[in-house]
Amino acid sequence: MKKVLMIGWEFPPFNSGGLGVVTYYLAKNLNNKINLILALPKKYPINSDLNIIFADEDVKILKGYQKIYGIFANGFLEEVLTYGMRLLKKIKELNLDFDIIHAHDWLGGFCGLYLKNNLNKPLIIHIHSTEIERTGNNPNPMIYKIEKEIMDNADKIISVSKLTKSIINNFYKIPEEKIIDIPNAIDLNYYEGADLEYFRRLKLNNYKIVIFVGRLVLQKGPDYFVRTLKYVSEHIKKIRYVIVGDGEMFPDLIKIADEDKVLDKIIFTGFLRDERLWAIYKYADLLVAPSVFDPFGLVPLEAVKFGVPVIISRTTGVGDYLKNCLKVDFWDVKNAANYIISVLKYRPLKNELVKNSKEELSKFKWEDRINKLIDIYNKI
């Protein structure tokens, strides 16, 4: 049985996005099948039966601490760059041995490369997003350089979509043979969301609820979402847009909505997780994910699971695998509005989208991904 050191960065409930979620499900599902050690940069009070080690044990969690993943903030880069040193110390202390290093993104990847160089173990880099994608091809040169160095030296690269695979191939000049796309999967169990009085009333009064779920950053395109409302509300009077998430673009969204005179039709919930997020899906008529660039995009799959039809941008990686949805160019606000109105007005369209997309969910089982991963571990 292979012994794998998985190098993570964030972990639920201390996560801001998909990276933490995917790390959690990978670790959880791998745990029964291989010998897994999960490394995280700092000690968080995590409830888990996983074998977890922390590079730093004596870190105090700041109140309201939330790492905004991928944002270049004070002390952040240093943390990434010293992760390897700290972890190596820990590994020696504990006298740990393993066969393979599996590191996530450049955040864990730099650490992975450091360990590879010091311990001479094969390195697998799991790319959830690249700097090119996060910045709309306007990368921080240093981060780009670090990413490229990691990928050049990795023994194998896993990308979360064909879309990201092509970016790694084209922008980082990594030969295609070295990259394997393993799309993310989701937890297919259904969870009952909380009862939200206000939303229940909206539904009772025949309001249509269109949702956006994601960080309010450029990459996710929340501004394009808000801009559709002006057109949609012309045709659908009883409408509410619900925006779930936090981020730096919040003030911009308020400004756009105010200019378009639709602010009264938008509900900002802030960041939600678990029961309260599931509740939003429960009441939603439609989810729109107009990302400028999203390497994968777990949110559309979550929506599908809850029986919500989805509209995604063509630059959302999950679209490589999920066929039964509507696809738009993120900038084509009017066409997105056309589709939104159509889904809300034409019941057969909604029904077919929901029915057929649900049938596709079986393509997104963690079990299948884990088997593919183990196959990679065995061959490396």
Binding site: N324, K327, K334, N335, N338, S342, Y346, P348, L349
Partner: protein, 386 residues
């Protein structure tokens, strides 16, 4: 002595343009001329022109023993008139050999036989008039849209002057029986010619498939297969899309070489010949009864209507479309009828969509959902105008 009956379906729809919710009430031009011309340019050059020229030469070189039947839709003729009138001249030239028959059908390639008897009759008559004015012959054999057949159609067709209909040789109806004989409907009013789907699909689907154990298919091999029916078959019905030649099977696959050699290889075989559909039904008596109370078609493995009206979107679209019949105004009649063309509903088909199956050549849509949205928006507009 089996007779080989070639039937080519020649059809292209008037595809509709991207029509958004915001166009409703503002734009009554529904069709995408530019796109339709683009498709027609391609098909005319890759298929119609070279294939018709080849067929003309073959008829002459075989001393008028090679014969074919065409089913041309009215909506295709309209598009040829607009953008490729030379193709109509070519059809005329080929027809002038006397070795060519034209079948009757619905002018608009519609599903009206299912949804409106009145509309069906009008479209069949329109088409009959078109064919007789263009080619100076009156269709006697009926080929319904997608080869739809059901028993209740028989009286209507008899009333319209047809003596036979063609349809799919559906296994679950034929049972142990062979498609290679002439059949008749339960009332004995119409003769029925059945497509030999195995041999037809060998040409139209499998011809270029390298996974197929018979690849490459040569004309002499195919002629030999047909000769094997000598003594236990009278008609070998090879029914397929005309676009098989040069479009579904590209020139590079060798499909034209196959076509050029096939008539000679078949005529070389003892007791094999070619017939038009009318000749076949005159020559051979009905050997059995073929009956289906519900509509069958030549589509997919199901051989039913589910490719057109299988899902909720398709049913909604077609029901709303035919619901407009009672309120139809002359001004919008032609548009309404062009919207009846079966292809529009085919584009909304969700069967196998997730597997990346394109499901139809020349499908202009990214997904069945987009096809439905466009069509549905247009219906809203048309509804407002009536």
């Amino acid at each position: 002595m089996p007779s080989v009956c070639f039937y080519f379906k020649v059809h292209q729809p008037f595809r509709i343009k991207n029509y958004s919710v915001f166009d409703i009430g503002k734009d009554e031009n529904y069709f995408d001329d530019e796109k339709n011309k683009m498709y027609l340019d391609r098909i005319a050059n890759k298929c119609y022109i070279p294939t018709l020229n080849t067929i003309y030469e073959l008829i002459k070189e075989t001393n008028y023993r090679f014969k074919v039947t065409f089913g041309i839709t009215g909506v295709l003729i309209e598009q040829l008139r607009l953008w490729h009138p030379e193709v109509i001249d070519l059809f005329r030239k080929v027809a002038s050999t006397g070795c060519v028959e034209f079948t009757g059908e619905t002018y608009y390639h519609s599903l009206s036989s299912i949804y409106s008897k009145k509309e069906f009759i009008e479209q069949v008559i329109m088409h009959k008039n078109l064919i007789s004015s263009l080619f100076n012959q009156i269709p006697k054999v009926f080929s319904n849209t997608e080869l739809i057949y059901f028993d209740d159609l028989v009286d209507t067709l008899e009333g319209l002057g047809f003596s036979a209909i063609i349809t799919e040789g559906v296994d679950h109806i034929l049972g142990w029986r062979s498609p290679n004989f002439v059949y008749e409907d339960p009332s004995g009013k119409l003769k029925i010619l059945l497509r030999n789907y195995k041999l037809s699909d060998d040409i139209s689907f499998r011809f270029s498939s390298r996974d197929w154990e018979e690849w490459p298919l040569t004309a002499d091999k195919f002629a030999y297969w047909i000769s094997q029916y000598n003594g236990n078959g009278e008609v070998i019905n090879l029914f397929m899309d005309f676009e098989t030649f040069g479009e579904h099977q590209w020139k590079e696959t060798g499909i034209f070489d196959f076509l050029v050699n096939l008539p000679f290889e078949i005529l070389k075989q003892k007791d094999l010949n070619f017939m038009t559909l009318s000749e076949a039904i005159k020559t051979y008596p009905a050997r059995g009864e073929f009956s289906s109370p519900y509509p069958i078609t030549w589509a997919d493995v199901e051989r039913d209507l589910t490719a057109w009206v299988g899902n909720e979107m398709q049913k909604d679209a077609i029901q709303r479309l035919y619901a407009l019949e009672k309120r139809m105004k002359d001004r919008y009649l032609d548009k309404w009828r062009k919207l009846q063309t079966a292809d529009h509903f085919y584009y909304m088909c969700t069967k196998w969509f997730a597997d990346g199956d394109v499901h139809k050549y020349f499908n202009p849509y990214e997904s069945p959902y987009v096809a439905y949205i466009n069509f549905r928006n247009i219906l809203e507009d048309l509804n407002l105008r009536l």
